[in-house]
Amino acid sequence: MKTRVTLHINGDKRELLVESGESLLDAIRYGAGLTGTKRACGVGDCGACTVILDGEPVNSCLVLATMADGCEVRTVEGLAKNGILSGVQEAMVKEGGIQCGFCTPGMEMSATALLEQNPNPTTDEIKDALAGNLCRCTGYGGIMRAMDRCVNRNDDGTCSKKSAHESFEKNTKEKHDTVGISIPRVDAIDKATGRAIYTGDVVLPNMVHGVIVGSPVAHGILKNVDTSKALAMEGVLAVITGKDVDDTLYGVSPARYDEHLLAKDKVRHVGDPICAIAAIDETTARKAMDLIELDIEELPAVLNPEQAMANGAPLVHDRFANNVNTHVNQEFGDVEKAFDESYMVKEETFTGNHIYQCPMEPNTSVATWDPDGTLVLYSSTQVPHYVQYMMAHVLHIPLGKIRIIRPAVGGGFGGKAATTPLDICSALLSKKIGRPVRMEHTREEMFKYGRGRHKQHMTFKVGVDENGVIKACAAKIYLDGGAYSSFGVATAYYAGSMMPTLYHIPNYKYDGFRIMTNKPACGAMRGHGVPQPRFAFECLLTMVSEEMGIDPIEIRRRNAMTENTMTVNQMDIGSCEYLATLNETAKEANWDDKYGTLPSGSGIGVGCGGFVSGAGYCIYRGQVQVQYEKQPEKFIKKSIFPHANAIVKISEDGTAAVLMIGAAEIGQGSDTVLTQMCAESLGISPDKIRIRSGDSDISPIDLGSYSSRVTLMGGHAVSRAANDAIDKMRPYAAAMLGCEEDAVRAKDGKMFADGNEVDTVLWEEVARQFFNENGPLVGTGCYKPPDGLGGDYKGATVGTSPAYSFGTSVCELDVDMETGKVSVNKFTDYHDCGRAINPQAVHGQVEGAIVMTTGETLMEDVCFDDKGQLLNGDLHGYLLMTIKDAPDIFSGIVDSYEHRGPYGAKEIGEGSTLPVLGAVAHAIANATGVWITDLPITPEKICNAMKKKIAKEQVAAATS
């Protein structure tokens, strides 16, 4: 039933016709067209849809539009007045409170309501008001600084509270105008005001809605799909099943494509896509899902590696015997001999958890076909190029006939690093019915699609000499892969390959098994494969140090990786300031005073880690071309094509530059740092540059935002493109300046001869001169990783990179010794990310990683019942840390310069997660006397371990 309601939205009277069951959120987004208000969970758990209703912030998803009839509604679009940002918005922009921006509108509405009611809230009052707004990117650090700025505003508008950041000025190796400066994000204002368009905000004329019906069971033979009742429903436009698609398999690792577009014969996990429905609206499409009749013969499911590898266990895929998807077997040096020669050898087992990236923005796709047969696909993806490649593969059309548009992306963390069933099905449905099709996952569907972190079952053994110097390490890991290969082959290799990059390990052995199970496929989550093994190794090393009476930071100093090292597994380490991160963190955290002196229930712990700055090789082999048209190529240790490519086009009047590169801004800030490097290379201000990174028709290929590659690889391409443009300007500038072409320098919008900054010509005048003579002034640049990366053993490519990051975290926390509840109070972190292009963005990555990964260590775990049914596919069962849970964080950057990186830069996004798990686990052990080696470290596990310890001690006391 439709009723007419009057909403006073941001002062505008809006008369809307709404369904009785329609939420205020949908009425605002789609009725009034104000898409700044976001839908991220739909059940009041996340706060992304917060609006101010008659003066109070509410979750608009939990208010019926009809109940708001006659009410005043304020949304993010109403905060700025006459184009001037509100205080909250301005503070969020300036203090780095915004990354992906998906939580930002809701966060700003909660903050605005608080400050209007209470202009001087305490820190606790701020946290209480914002605890219903989940943020997955920032770790709440920038948000708290923004709130402090609003509350403690000085006359000059600056924040009276000092940011807990190490000043960057100590890096003196180079001075730049733009690089190394914390300019606000180039997309911050769009995100602060609700102007930013995400895929779910895209509305095309004549657009309809699609949904995917997934398997209700974890494992079964799909006998029949009866779509007749659904097709007969009014408003349903098309249904496609496995019978309507060809046998093409797709996936991520080309050797392991194992996913059908829609299930053909079997279903392998709950949620496995079976059919797709298009209908005139989302409600109809979802209603039609109930009318699909499935005939499935249920098979026994295997739900963990042990079950899956047992004799006679049912096979998830016939092609993977014993459900072993991949087996890695690597040995470098002579591990057994080294153990024999070790002073101390220690072995422990560790268990990880199933982590889901949980970006705030749901995966969304909108597909439409141009009359010339070009697919136009809007996708919330980290990897537009791989989506283009895979769509070409599944649709059997050339890449040239596919245009990928990547609108603003609300976080990824690896969860959007592959082509999704939404990408594929929206394209297929759109083709079939000749209308644009939009598809969006619900929060539960996101969990069922999966691609989160592999749960790993690990045994680590380490041998050290009498000084704690590592002689050998052996790891055996079973990765619970879920039902499809996805990134899993690479994950299995990564799990082992990164261990020798942090410490000098002369003898190293790794046995890895990725096992298929009847759960959603696991993929590449932030830190790809490495965080759990790193957790295990860090815990083990700390255990060893404590048993030997060596300080845990000291044992790390004795083993720390050093610059210009070829590791035992042929990883080529360039710059390395790992030791500096250890020393600076220890100093800042007062480690020497605190470690070993804290009372029971208080703990301090250390953990370390680092990561690649971009994968050395492309995911697929050969050139950019549909796979079946290419000759199978033998792998050679060389990039066939450039992994990052950029074009800089100068406006005809010389006053602006458009930077085109297909690098995916997903919230991490790549648009901003690429703009900064472009500005620096051009010698003009970054506000003269507009970056266009979201459209494959405009921007050349960049492989995307995975493996922490964009700053280094995209940065090179961008600065080379800018230098190319400058080179074209040189003759004109030289003529005007009367100097040699080589002597021409560009800075601050001026050009001058080297050494003479007094006699200048305007940069834009030189550009105009070029245009007058030659037409468009365009520079191009590209980047290929160095040839020859990696050794010659099987899997040697995984873990190769032009550069590696390093970092140290110290965690301080309290444990309730009765209940086991942990309160994380403080983190101190120093990172070697090379030269920081934008320090605020670096700190934002570190803070976000610390909070995300602390949550991963303490409370996150995707759970399934004994039938493989998902138990917590929502944000009240799967717990992300709130602003109240987030610790205070000190983030510092050590002085470092990577000669292989643009302007000396390396990565920060993934490496920053790696120290966290071990630091938290160690701090808990330090507080309680018990090590929990099984993630997540819940209060219950801590409690049980403490009881066990006491019981053991009592037995020991009684027997002695």
């Binding site: 009785s20 069951g21 987004r29 706060g47 979750n59 109940m67």
Partner: protein
């Protein structure tokens, strides 16, 4: 249209209780009462409930607000959780209500969620019921046949089940004048916006150094929130020492009947009951002194 709306719903916005009763009777078990909607709309969306006729209480003004009465206070069922937090009389006389309310959900949830909904949903982990139990609250139920008053301890009948009959509406919650010092202890897995894993409310009244009256109630550890029987027998007339508190904690542990779920095992929850009971009693006694 994009977005998913709940299909086949009719929403009624009566302005009087009488009109509300009529609609409820007409649609019987296919009708549901819409207060804050923070439970109901979620339940409808995840298909835990399937009523098609929603009767909103929003326009029945008499249902909202805290009124002081001769014997205590009367809290309208549609009073929001943030109304409670901001109520002077609640802050002054019933601080345990504040303790339980401020840990509930998020600020957004507290702006829409109501006290009536918190009890009428009868979710085992609800925060207010244990406090209402130790405060001796009564629930006023209204129907076309008039009103009846039910002690809160008789209100809950199972998981998501109450004594509210078809055609009845929770009208208000009455609290007697405060006696003793009620407190609320809760264990949860996250600092903000989380659900109780185990919860204990205690209300001790001291007469000098001895306990004059003691009530302990449990939440989230049984199908319904419940008063622990036999606490007075242990504490009443005695000074409150560690041994007696321990005895009560054991009694509470035995009285609990928790389930194992993602938030904790039954065994762990029982342990939490003991820990929280001890803390609650000690804090209540301290507040009395």
């Amino acid at each position: 249209m994009i977005g998913t709306c709940l299909g086949g719903l009719t929403v009624y916005k009566p302005t009087t209780l009488e009109d509300a009763f009529a609609i409820l009777i007409e649609h019987g078990s296919d009708a549901a009462i819409l207060a804050g909607g923070t439970d109901l709309l979620v339940d409808l969306r995840v298909q835990r409930r399937d009523e098609h006729h929603l009767v909103s209480l929003a326009n029945i003004t008499e249902l909202r607000g805290v009124t002081e009465t001769e014997n205590g206070v009367s809290i309208g069922a549609a009073t929001t959780l943030n109304d409670l937090l901001h109520s002077d009389v609640i802050q002054q006389n019933y601080p345990a209500i504040i303790e339980a309310t401020q840990v509930m959900g998020s600020n957004q949830i507290r702006n829409t969620g109501t006290i009536g909904g918190n009890i009428a949903s009868a979710v085992p982990s609800a925060d207010l019921p244990p406090v209402l139990l130790v405060l001796g609250a009564e629930v006023v139920l209204a129907s076309k046949d008039g009103e009846r008053t039910v002690p809160i301890c008789e209100f809950f009948q199972g998981v998501r089940k109450t004594c509210v009959a078809i055609g009845e509406i929770v009208k208000s919650i009455s609290l007697p004048n405060p006696s003793g010092s009620a407190v609320y202890e809760r264990f949860d897995l996250r600092q903000g916006n989380s659900l109780a894993v185990a919860a204990v409310a205690a209300n001790i009244t001291m007469d000098g150094d001895t306990v004059a009256d003691a009530k302990v109630a449990l939440g989230a550890v049984a199908p319904t929130p419940e008063i622990v029987e036999g606490v007075n027998a242990i504490l009443c007339g005695n000074t409150c020492n560690d041994n007696l508190v321990h005895e009560v904690a054991q009694l509470a542990t035995q009285a609990s009947n928790p389930i194992t779920d993602l938030r904790g095992s039954a065994q762990y929850r029982r342990e939490l009951v003991g820990i929280l009971t001890t803390r609650a009693i000690k804090r209540s006694v301290e507040a009395e002194q």
